[in-house]
C-alpha cells in the first residue's frame, strides 16, 4: 500500500529525514516513535504533502502511484489522511460544510455521485458519536474555540467521515488526558480493518496500550534505526531514548 524508499527531506535547507525506508501493507498498524527532533512529524507532513518540506531524494508510492507527484487534495482522494498534531483553527468555515465539500470533491474525483443531505447527516451523527463529539462542535467553525481534546477528537471524527485507507496520526495523544486518550484510541480501533492501515506517530508508549501496533519503529536522526513488534515500545519506555542514542553512538564509534 505504502512504500517509502530512501526518503530524504529538509526544511529551509535543514536536513531532517536522511534515508528512511518503510513499507506498510493493508491492515497494518505501524507506530513510529522517537525523541524530539528525530523527524517523526516531518515524515507525517511529507506524506500529507506539506510544501514547507522539500523532498530531496527517495521515493514514496501509495496505492501504486507516485505520491510525491500529487497535491495534498489528490493524496486525500487516494485515501490518505493526516490527523494533525496541531489542528488549525479556521474561523468562518463550518466544520460540517467543509467536510461535505471534502467528501463531495473526493466522490467527484472518483466519478461518484455527490452525497445526499440525508446520507451525510446520518453519517455525521454516527461518526460523531464514535468519538463522543458534541453536536454543537460539529456545527461550529473548524476547531475554533475547541479545547485541546476536542480538537484531537475532531481530527478522528474527520478521519472517520473521510474513511481513508491510510490514516496517519501525528502525535494525536500529546496533550490528552487519559479519558480523552481512551476515546480517541477507541475511535481509531473501531476504524481498524483488513484494508485500512495506520501510521501512529508518537513520543510516548502510553497510546500504544490502547492502539496496539503490529510494528514499532524507532526514528532517530532522520532514519529508522530499530524495528520490532509492540514489545519494542515497552523496552523503549523502560530504557528511555538514551538507550537508542547510546547504541547509535557505539555503532558510529
Amino acid at each position: 500500500m505504502l512504500n517509502i524508499t530512501n526518503l530524504h527531506a529538509e526544511i529551509e535547507g535543514k536536513k531532517i529525514i536522511k534515508g528512511l525506508d518503510l513499507e506498510v501493507k493493508p491492515g497494518e498498524v505501524h507506530a513510529i516513535m522517537g525523541p524530539n527532533g528525530s523527524g517523526k512529524s516531518t515524515l507525517a507532513s511529507v506524506l500529507a504533502g506539506n510544501e514547507d518540506f522539500d523532498v530531496t531524494d527517495g521515493s514514496i508510492t501509495f496505492q501504486g502511484k507516485d505520491l510525491l507527484e500529487l497535491g495534498p487534495d489528490e493524496r486525500s482522494h487516494l485515501g490518505l489522511f493526516l490527523a494533525f498534531q496541531y489542528p488549525v483553527e479556521i474561523p468562518g468555515v463550518s466544520n460540517i460544510n467543509f467536510l461535505k465539500a471534502a467528501i463531495n470533491e473526493r466522490r467527484e474525483a472518483r466519478g461518484e455521485e455527490p452525497i445526499t443531505a440525508k446520507e451525510f447527516l446520518q453519517m455525521v451523527k454516527d461518526k460523531a458519536s464514535l468519538v463522543e463529539l458534541d453536536n454543537k462542535l460539529t456545527n461550529r467553525s473548524v476547531n475554533e474555540g475547541f479545547s485541546g481534546g476536542e480538537k484531537k477528537r475532531n481530527e478522528i471524527f474527520q478521519m472517520a467521515m473521510l474513511e481513508p485507507t491510510l490514516g496517519i496520526l501525528d502525535e494525536t495523544d500529546s496533550g490528552l488526558d487519559i479519558d480523552a486518550l481512551k476515546i480517541v484510541a477507541n475511535g481509531v480501533n473501531t476504524l481498524r480493518s483488513k484494508e485500512r492501515s495506520f501510521i501512529v506517530v508518537t513520543h510516548y508508549q502510553r497510546l500504544l496500550d490502547y492502539i496496539v501496533p503490529d510494528f514499532v519503529h524507532v526514528l532517530f536522526d532522520g532514519k529508522i534505526v530499530k524495528s520490532g513488534d509492540k514489545s519494542l515500545a515497552l523496552e523503549l519506555e523502560e530504557k528511555g531514548y538514551d538507550w537508542i542514542k547510546n547504541e547509535r553512538e557505539k555503532v558510529s564509534a
Binding site: 510544501e51 495534498p72 487534495d73 482522494h77 468555515v93 471534502a102 470533491e105
Partner: protein, 415 residues
C-alpha cells in the same frame, strides 16, 4: 501656499458642456463659464493621494439619452418595486413603482457640506446634474418590500451623473438595494446620493457595484441622521476598473447608530478606494465600520476611514476595522484609519490588518481533499462572512457570494 500647475481644463469641458446642453437644452457657453474654475483633483490633494484621476480626466466624456431594449438584471433582484436608470436617465419602461413610496423630482442641492474634503467630482455632479429624483417617506411610513435602485451604465465614452435624494421622515423605515453596473466599453458614473434619516427612522442599504470594460465609478454618499435614527450602508465592490466611494455620515441627533461595511475584491489592475467620514456631533451615538478587502493580481486598494468625535459627543461608541488579505505579491493596499476625538468620555477603537492567506489553513483544507481553488474560496468567504452577515437584504447575498467565487476562480485559472 501651494502652487498648483495651471492646466488647460477647458478643452474636455467644452465638449462635455456641449453634450450636456444638447440633451438638457441649456446654453452651452454659460455652462463652460460655470465650469471655468473646475479642476480635477490630483495626487497632490491629500484626499486623492492614492487614487489617480488622470484617466478620468483625459477621456472625452459625453452624455447619452439612449435606452436599451433589454436589461438582463440578476434574477435575485426580485420583482419588488424598482427604479431603473440607464446612463443616469430614468426608464419608466423598466421600472416598477408599485408599492413604492412617493417619487418626485428633486432640485439639485447645495454643495456646502462638501467644503471640508476636497472633492471636485461631487461638485461636477452638482454643476451638470441630470434629472434628479427624490424618494420621500412620510411620517411613520414603513415600506415592507425591498426597493431596488438600479443604475446601468453603458456605451462608449459615456458619462452619467445621477443624483438621488432619499428622505425618511420621523419613524419611517426603508430597505434599499442599489445595484450599479457598468457594462459599456468606457463609462464614467459620477453618482451622488443624499439620505436624510429622520427621528427614529431606519434606512438600510446594500450597494452592489460592478464594472466591466474601462469603467470609472465615483460615488458620493451623504447621510444626515436625526435623533434615535439608524443607518446602514453595505458596499460590495465586485469589480470595476476604477472605483472611488466617498461616504460621509453626519450624526446630528442623539442616540443614533450608523453602520458602514464593505467588501472589495479587485483583480488584475482594478483600483478600489473607499473613503468614509463619520462625524459624531452629539452624545450617546454609536458607529461601526467593517471593511474587508481581498486583493488579487496587480490590483490596488485604498481604505481611508475618518471618525470625528466632536466635543459634545460624549458617550460615543465608535468602532472601525479594516482587514485585507493579499492574494498576490503584486497587489497593494493603502489603509489609513483616522480618529479625531475632542470629547473625553468615549469608547473608540480602530484597527487595520493586512496579511496573506493563511498557508496552514490552506494546507489543512487541502489535506481533507478540497482543491486549492475551493480551499481559497472557502477561506475568502470566511473572511468576507462578517460583512456578508451584515447585509440588509438577504436576497442578493447569494449573488454576491457567487461573484466572489467566480472572481477567485479566475485567479486560480490564471496561475
Amino acid at each position: 501656499m501651494e502652487i498648483v500647475e495651471s492646466k488647460n481644463t477647458l478643452a474636455p469641458f467644452s465638449e462635455l458642456a456641449k453634450s450636456y446642453s444638447q440633451i438638457n437644452e441649456v446654453n452651452a457657453s454659460s455652462l463652460i463659464k460655470k465650469l471655468g474654475d473646475f479642476r480635477f483633483p490630483t495626487r497632490r490633494d491629500e484626499y486623492w493621494k492614492y487614487t489617480p484621476t488622470r484617466a478620468v480626466e483625459k477621456t472625452n466624456w459625453q452624455f447619452s439619452s439612449d435606452l436599451p431594449e433589454e436589461l438582463n438584471l440578476p434574477a435575485s433582484l426580485g420583482n419588488g418595486p424598482r427604479l431603473v436608470f440607464i446612463n443616469g436617465n430614468y426608464s419608466e419602461k423598466f421600472s416598477s413603482q408599485e408599492g413604492l413610496p412617493k417619487l418626485s423630482s428633486a432640485e439639485g442641492s447645495s454643495v456646502d457640506e462638501l467644503s471640508s474634503p476636497f472633492n471636485p467630482l461631487a461638485d461636477l455632479n452638482q454643476l451638470l446634474p441630470q434629472k434628479t429624483y427624490k424618494l420621500h417617506l412620510m411620517k411613520n411610513e414603513v415600506v415592507d418590500q425591498v426597493v431596488s435602485i438600479v443604475h446601468i451604465f453603458q456605451g462608449e465614452n459615456i458619462i452619467s451623473q445621477p443624483y438621488m435624494e432619499v428622505v425618511l421622515e420621523e419613524g419611517a423605515s426603508l430597505k434599499l438595494n442599489e445595484y450599479h453596473v457598468h457594462r459599456g466599453s468606457s463609462t464614467f458614473s459620477n453618482s451622488f446620493s443624499r439620505y436624510q434619516v429622520g427621528r427614529n427612522a431606519e434606512l438600510g442599504l446594500d450597494l452592489i457595484q460592478e464594472g466591466k470594460g474601462e469603467s470609472f465609478l465615483h460615488n458620493q454618499t451623504i447621510v444626515n441622521q436625526d435623533k434615535d435614527s439608524r443607518f446602514t450602508q453595505n458596499t460590495f465592490t465586485l469589480s470595476g476598473n476604477w472605483v472611488r466611494n466617498n461616504t460621509i455620515v453626519n450624526i446630528n441627533g442623539k442616540n443614533s447608530e450608523a453602520n458602514l461595511n464593505g467588501i472589495y475584491i479587485p483583480s488584475e489592475k482594478e483600483h478600489v478606494d473607499n473613503h468614509t467620514i463619520i462625524d459624531h456631533k452629539v452624545a450617546h451615538c454609536e458607529s461601526n465600520e467593517l471593511y474587508r478587502g481581498v486583493m488579487m493580481d496587480k490590483s490596488t486598494g485604498v481604505f481611508n476611514g475618518k471618525v470625528f468625535v466632536r466635543q459634545d459627543a460624549q458617550k460615543t461608541n465608535a468602532f472601525q476595522s479594516n482587514g485585507n488579505v493579499l492574494l498576490s505579491d503584486f497587489a497593494t493596499i493603502n489603509s489609513k484609519p483616522e480618529l479625531e476625538i475632542y470629547a473625553d468620555d468615549v469608547k473608540c477603537s480602530h484597527g487595520s490588518t493586512t496579511g496573506q492567506m493563511d498557508d496552514e489553513a490552506l494546507f489543512y483544507l487541502m489535506s481533507r481533499g478540497i482543491s486549492e481553488r475551493n480551499s481559497r474560496i472557502l477561506l475568502v468567504n470566511a473572511f468576507a462572512e462578517d460583512v456578508l452577515a451584515e447585509m440588509v437584504n438577504d436576497n442578493l447575498r447569494g449573488y454576491v457570494e457567487k461573484a466572489i467565487k467566480e472572481k477567485l476562480s479566475g485567479v486560480s485559472n490564471g496561475e
